[in-house]
Every structure is written in C-alpha cells, then in structure tokens.
Symmetry: C2
Subunit: 248 residues, 2 copies
C-alpha cells in the first residue's frame, strides 16, 4: 500500500517532482514512513542498501567494528538524503539523536524507477558525492589529526551545518552527547571532555549545560583544528615536493 506522508514533501522539495505525477506515484509506492525517538534504531534491510530521506530531526549513522566498538560515520539533519549500506565487513545502523521522521526506500528499486528522470539522478549523484567528500575529510581527520584538532574541527563543522544564529559570538546547540562525539571522532568520551575543557580554559569556546557551545573565537578555533587557513584559498603552487621522479 503506497505511503504518502512526508514522501511527497521529499519528492517535491528535493527533486521538484509534482507528487501527482506518474513518477511520484511510482516512487511513493516504495516509501516507508518511519518515526523514531531518541536512541531508537531505524531498521534497514541488511541485504540491500537503503535510501533515506530525513524529513525532520537528527540521526547518527554508525558502524560496528566489533562488539563494544562503534564508529559514527555521519550525522544527518532535517532535509538530508543519504544511504545506509547493506551489511558487509561492518554492520551499519541508523539511530535517532532526537525525535525524527523519515522516509526510507529500497535503493536499488528506487534507482530503477528514477533512472529515466535526469533531475532525480543528478540530485542523487551530487548528494552521494557530498557524502563521499565529507567521509574523506573524516578519514583525514581520523588518520592524521590529534584529539585537540579533531574536536576543534568537529565544532567548526557542526557550526557550519547547524547554521547558528548570526549573533556576535556564534552559539550552537549540539544534538549529540559527548559519547556520540567521541564515537564520531574515534576518541573516548573522557578525551573529548578534556579537549572541551582545554578550549574553554583557553577562552576559545564556552559551554552552557550539556548541549550549548559558544564559539567565542572562530579564527583561533580554526587554528586549533590544524587548517592552513579556512577563509582564504588554500596554497596553489609547489605541491610536488614528492619528487616527480626521472622522466622516461
């Protein structure tokens, strides 16, 4: 039985599809409406990729490296479109950070039906690449950066994605716990906490309760994150210090 809930909102907002159109009906047939509360898992097909539209709320996409070792590979917020992979070497799971409503589709069938619509495929491709680029940046952070750099970088990334109010000192309201942050950054909760304390003592941030964070000094925060310079174009010349080796 077709499920026309936030699915229609999704199709219209993301792809510009009139829900009354034939393609809208065909895709709507694949939709499953899901509502989760904080901490609850969204069940996805372990045998095939699931396409997810997060209508409202926030979720974390995590993987099990082994029992007791979780890695969060991405946070998602209202309006996001993403995929939950089938089980391979790691098992992924999608969990609500707060009360959230979402629409899920079996990815393969969705693609089959959407293939004839250039706009949809283009939108899916670009969002997939955005996710890939974010994931690559995460890999760089996990592989090369210290705990302090990771936490600072995390705060900057969240500030950009949560689009804080344009006050004098940007303030963000983190929907995830310190534990979630740790699992996202490959750090233990105690280490995350210590880094928050360091940034607070340095006057770079301030914290309010469990979730409120004021970014008092963005340039210094970017510096702590280990970026060259976030606001100017990165260095262009001389990238070939890794010897080009003798020409044939």
């Amino acid at each position: 039985m077709p499920n026309f809930g936030s699915c229609n909102v999704f199709l219209r907002a993301t792809f510009g599809i009139d829900p009354g159109a034939e393609i809208g009906r065909q895709l709507g047939e694949l939709a499953t409406q899901v509502h989760v509360i904080r901490g609850q898992e969204v069940k996805t097909d372990p045998a095939d990729t699931t396409l997810v539209f997060l209508a409202s709320g926030a979720t974390k996409l995590g993987a099990l490296a082994s029992r007791e070792r979780h890695q969060i590979v991405a946070f998602h917020f209202g309006g996001d479109i993403f995929t939950v992979p089938a089980v391979s070497v790691h098992r992924y799971m999608l969990i609500g950070l707060c009360e959230s409503t979402l629409t899920t589709f079996p990815a393969r069938e969705f693609y089959d039906r959407a293939a004839s619509n250039p706009w949809i495929m283009r939108a899916l491709l670009e969002r997939s690449q955005t996710a890939l680029f974010r994931c690559r940046d995460k890999a760089v952070n996990l592989g090369q950066k210290s705990a302090g750099e990771r936490v600072a970088g995390f705060l900057l990334a969240m500030w950009e994605r949560l689009d804080a109010s344009e006050g004098s000192s940007p303030m963000i309201d983190l929907p995830m716990s310190r534990g979630d942050i740790g699992e996202s950054l490959g750090l233990k909760i105690e280490t995350v906490s210590r880094q928050f304390t360091k940034l607070r003592e340095a006057g770079i941030i301030d914290t309010h309760g469990r979730s409120g964070v004021s970014l008092l000094d963005l340039p210094r925060l970017a510096e702590q994150a280990g970026y060259y310079d976030r606001n100017t174009v990165p260095p262009r010349p001389e990238w070939v210090e890794r010897k080009p080796e003798l020409v044939p």
Copy 2:
C-alpha cells in the same frame, strides 16, 4: 580539440556507449588524456571536482592534513572510475603508484552532458556509492581499530581487489610502498613494518622482497583484522542494547 584515446575505451567499457554516437562525441570533447609515471601527480582543477577514469596502472588519492601530514583516502586500479574533489578544508592530490594512463573530465560539465543518459548516470551513481562505502569502512578502521587490525584488514582488502591468482596460498604483489600503506592506515612506516613482522613471525603471511606478500592463513588473518566472521552473515538479532528509551 576532442581527445579520442582511451576515452573511447572508457565510454564503451563502462557505459556501453558506441563512441560513434552523439553522446560519445560530446563527452569525448571534455576528455583530457594523461600519462603519469611513478610518483608523479595528476594535475586536477583546484576549483572543481574532476572525474577520472583510470585506464591502466594504479594511483593513490591523498589529502594534505597539513604540511608533512598526508592521508591516503583511496587506492585505485585499472578500470576504476572516481572523482578528485575540489579544494575545501583539505587539498587532495592524485599520484601514480606506477606508470598509469588515465582520462580526466570536468565533473560538472560531464554530468550536464550525460544527464539525459540513464545508463551513464546510474553507473556513476553506483560507483560513487561504492567509493562512499569503502570510505566509510576506512573511517571505521581509522577510528576504532588497532595497528594490527588495520594492517591485517588492509592485506585482506588488497587481496580482494587485486584478485590474486587462485593458488593454494594467495600471493599478492603490492604496488604501494610501506610508506603509502602507513599513510593509508594512519600509521607510521615503522609501525606498519612491525605489524608485518608480527604477522610473518606468526606464520600468517610471508613476504618476498619489497612488494610480494603470501597470505598463508586467511582465516587467521581475518581474525587479526578484528572481523566477526568474514564468511558468514553478521549477527542479526539483538542490536538494540542501546536502550530505546521510554516511549512517549
């Protein structure tokens, strides 16, 4: 001036396009043929994403976290299609592991021209997702696994991708140096070397020269990689030990 080299091979092999077709001509106009030797960088547009088809050889896609800190986010081999991101918080660069020939396209324009062809878009989307899933697995490894687990997992992944000869004990010929492996796994070269030594002393692998590795005991190697069990379906039940929290 259109460049019809391995581009035609690419279009035919990947998308089933007859190079004589109009779409083939239009895409061919965007192609740039590149030939690199070991250690040489493939120049890509810092301002826009580049789509790359690797006709033959092998490359590494690396990012600069800062000067002197590189992270390799992916290795690619002949036949692979992938993208090199524009410069954002990190600068990416594509470097040959050995003599390689490839074709590059400006991604945006390629997508514009290919949008009307469902097959191409579908193929691009699925390859993008493959890259995303690999990258997520890498993030899990970097964030949660020990040096020993990372090296063992790396060898298994390379064995699968390089498709070793079907001998009694699989043997692979690594095209990348220990340094490259370290940069891929977020470890220093000395640590990688020590882990190789451990695996060799345990009788799990054997090494021949710089690049040859025999995988003498695959099950034990998978065990060292920290996987539950690579050959059976991962555990299905009881995944919600993270309390679903009180129902409203």
